[in-house]
Symmetry: none
Subunit: 187 residues, 2 copies
DNA sequence: GTTATAATTGCGAGCAGGTAATAATAGCGG
DNA sequence: CCGCTATTATTACCTGCTCGCAATTATAAC
């Protein structure tokens, strides 16, 4: 008797982990058990009700897309000399890796570099951006990416040139040259 | 009177856009109006109830972390000829724009292009990627980005060359040349 | 001013997906 | 067979709505 219950509860746990959008009724059907049993199981396992689960997922997602959407800098800004140079640090989390390869999507590496460069250049609006970039090696979860952006040629009118390099424990993983066309004289 | 209503509705729209977790009661308080008015406004604007909104965010987030984490393609794959060419479509949502400038972060445009290119090249693992890219103009929420990736030089050993172009209603917003170093002979 | 029309507000019922509490029943181990 | 756990049933209540209908208030039209 006890075995059956434990089995069901562990399956319930992973079922809900996998799909948090299931109602108690649906779960009860899957296990051919009454809805009350499911509720008891949830209580014993400390699993909140559907709506709370959905809310949690939504909140997670929301704060995640917010940090990716509303801040300028992807990663933490560590050094900053406006119009001159800047440095940011990005810790690679599991969410950033493609599970099959276990490597970080290059879009994240690019996003860190690009956002830092734009922030240093103080460009929320651009006319045109050109870049020559290179991803030198793959990056794995747990690595700490240190990105440095330096303005190299403030000479030309309406253009800001910038060198951006990302390293992980002193090995270069990304480097790029950015040219921002601003449509304004970069005073 | 109609002016007041329209103003409130547009504010309501952006309020909910900004924070979908508000109940009708909370919204009614903010506008110093009855809860029924809020409900009428929501209906006229086609805004679903709180729980539906939360569910949508959660679903989005859920499928997003899945597509961004478990699939290679950011955007919807529309055409695909393995090793030859591919096309993907990405609808720009509010979450992708930087609110100050109302323009899309270039990292999203890059992510679409890069992931499509890697998918067409069938590269989950790379040795080195070089790219020369250009963001030609800014992109705003609501635009539909159509990205095309074409393999242009399958000649060289251990290298895949690819041209990637992103357009929005037939105007080019991004173009890039990617060179993937594979460390394998591309059969 | 006096209507027509639009906007707002106020109920009451009902629904989904629960919580909480309490009671009845089934199943098995000793 | 007794006792205990597991399961099921029942009921009341909750939130955040929808739906339908009526009443009131504000604004525009004549």
């Amino acid at each position: 008797m006890r075995a059956k219950k434990l089995l069901r509860q562990s399956e319930l746990q992973s079922l809900i982990d996998y799909n948090p959008f299931l109602t108690d009724q649906e779960l009860a059907d899957k296990f051919a058990v009454s809805i009350q049993t499911i509720r008891l199981d949830r209580m014993e396992l400390g699993i909140p009700e559907l709506r709370e689960r959905v809310k949690m997922v939504a909140n997670d997602a929301y704060s995640k897309t917010k940090t990716l959407g509303e801040e300028q800098i992807i990663g933490d800004l560590r050094e900053f000399d406006p119009g001159v140079r800047g440095m940011s640090v990005l810790d690679v989390t599991m969410e950033m890796v493609h599970p099959q390869a276990m490597t970080v999507g290059t879009e994240h590496i690019f996003a860190q570099a690009n956002s830092l460069a734009m922030f240093v250049a103080d460009l929320s609006v651009y006319i045109r951006i050109q870049a020559s970039i290179e991803f030198i090696r793959q990056v794995y979860a747990g690595e700490r990416l240190v990105c440095t952006a330096v303005v190299v040629d403030p000479g030309k009118e309406n253009e800001i040139h910038m060198d951006v390099t990302t390293t992980s424990s002193d090995a270069v993983v990304f480097s790029g040259k950015f040219i921002f066309g601003t449509g304004r004289s970069n005073k």
